[in-house]
């Protein structure tokens, strides 16, 4: 019976091999795509946003064929999508499922919120030490000021 229910149909079709990033806040889908450089790869990328989610209300999902991510690579999306789950698919089967976690160190992807910071005046990649992961607090290695979650702007 469940197979006949059209509402159960996948909104974003299944992939044979690759990575699914699920439970992305709907507003962050395009941000995550940019962070992972998915706009410029040759692999098949399927994504959906503003999908209904029991847990989150609205969510986004991204499926990338034949591409697997290192922890370090994927953890940087934790700043934009702390709730995201990473699902590794091989031969249509889920072989691994894990949550992203905020890294100890954040490079390049976040702007320093301090308008007087040198990184906002010269072409310098930013560097932050993560002081707190739950309530995100990033300490700029240059100006030593702390960028908090609500002030985060991605470069």
């Amino acid at each position: 019976m469940e197979n006949n229910d059209p509402r159960k149909e996948l909104k974003v079709s299944a992939i044979e091999n690759g990575t699914v990033i699920d439970h992305i806040p709907a507003k962050s889908v395009f941000q995550v795509i940019r962070m992972l450089g998915l706009e410029s790869i040759d692999n098949q990328v399927l994504f959906g946003t503003n999908l209904d989610s029991r847990k989150f209300g609205k969510k986004g999902i991204i499926k990338v064929s034949n591409r697997y991510f290192e922890a370090e690579e994927i953890n940087k999306i934790a700043l934009a999508a702390p709730s995201a789950t990473l699902i590794v698919i091989r031969d249509f089967q889920v072989v691994e499922k894990k949550h992203v976690s905020v890294p100890d160190y954040v490079e390049k992807i976040v702007k320093c919120f301090n308008p007087n910071c040198i990184t906002n005046h010269e072409a310098i990649p930013t560097k932050f030490t993560v002081l707190s992961k739950d309530d995100i607090r990033l300490k700029c290695q240059y100006c030593e000021k702390i960028t908090v979650k609500d002030d985060i702007i991605f470069t």
């Binding site: 007087n116 040198i118 290695q141 240059y142």
Partner: protein, 302 residues
């Protein structure tokens, strides 16, 4: 310490800081020695300064070294749009050590990443001013005989004053008690207070200057800076909040000394200048000895 940059006071351990103060003492006894002959120090001041620049000049000149550099950017390629990176790389080809002041926060740390010679931060925006911090520590130790267990009052702009932030952080290593006097809108930032709490030390916040004068060993006055206020009305409200006058010092400790990073505007009345408790001009002179200690340590000639 040879070839190390000094960007933030925390770049040096407590022991290293004390080592610099001890060495500075020996320079106070004998400030003129020819131990920097053949060395070139670049003084790059992208922002105006009187004391810091001149005291570095004096420090190096008295030791026989040569100083190159600029006191403002009007005659340099910075005016043509040269980046900080290019300026630093180029000057590090010409010199053995770069002393720099720059209006942007974090500029000195960045310079230390691109420079092939060590950098001494002489003030980066509102961030750090570690050489001022060391000369403040030197002045406190010299006048009180110790840095331990003192009652230190900080007065004025505790929010934006970079010298206050560095000095509070450094003194948390010495078990001092902190008395913080400021208008409510210029309180010490919570990030700095966190350092005090981490060391389980006491701090008390006041709005009346008079309250701290009887208990303080050191009163560290600061200027409330007009340029830190986006709203001129806010500045007008607080600019005359804390003015120290000679008659207010009655009942203060005999050993009390008044420090100020200078320049002062009106926060220390000139009638205090002749009081033996006034120490700010001597404090500025101590800057020469501390900078001699730093330059010679970093160049590895001592």
């Amino acid at each position: 310490m040879k070839n190390r940059s000094l960007i933030s006071i925390n770049d040096f351990s407590k022991e290293e800081q004390i080592g610099i103060l001890d060495l500075a003492e020996s320079f106070e006894k004998q400030p003129t020695r020819k131990i920097l002959e053949g060395h070139v120090v670049a003084n790059l001041f992208f922002e105006p300064s009187t004391r810091t620049r001149l005291s570095f000049d004096t420090a190096v000149n008295r030791l026989g070294g040569k100083v190159i550099g600029f006191a403002d950017t009007s005659s340099t390629s910075v005016q043509k749009g040269e980046s900080l990176k290019d300026t630093i790389i180029m000057v590090s080809n010409y010199s053995d050590l770069i002393v720099m002041r720059h209006p942007k926060d974090g500029s000195a740390r960045y310079a230390s990443e691109v420079s092939s010679v060590p950098i001494i931060n002489a003030g980066d925006g509102a961030n750090q001013h570690p050489t001022q911090c060391l000369l403040d520590m030197y002045s406190i130790r010299k006048t009180q005989g110790t840095l331990e267990n003192l009652d230190i009052a900080f007065v004025g702009d505790l929010k934006y004053g970079r010298t206050v932030h560095s000095l509070v952080m450094a003194l948390t290593n010495f078990n001092c008690r902190f008395h913080l006097v400021s208008p409510p809108e210029l309180k010490l930032p919570s990030a700095v207070k966190m350092h005090i709490k981490e060391k389980q030390l006491e701090y008390t916040q006041y709005t009346e200057l008079q309250d701290v004068l009887p208990i303080a060993d050191i009163v560290y006055m600061t200027r409330i800076q007009r340029e830190r206020f986006s709203d001129p009305i806010e500045y007008e409200k607080v600019k005359n909040a804390y003015i120290l006058r000679n008659n207010m010092l009655k009942g203060s400790k005999e050993s009390l000394r008044i420090l100020h990073p200078l320049p002062r505007v009106n926060e220390i009345n000139v009638d205090i200048d002749d009081n033996p408790k006034a120490y700010y001009f001597q404090q500025a002179l101590n800057g020469v000895y501390v900078r001699q200690a730093l330059v010679t340590s970093i160049l590895g000639v001592i």
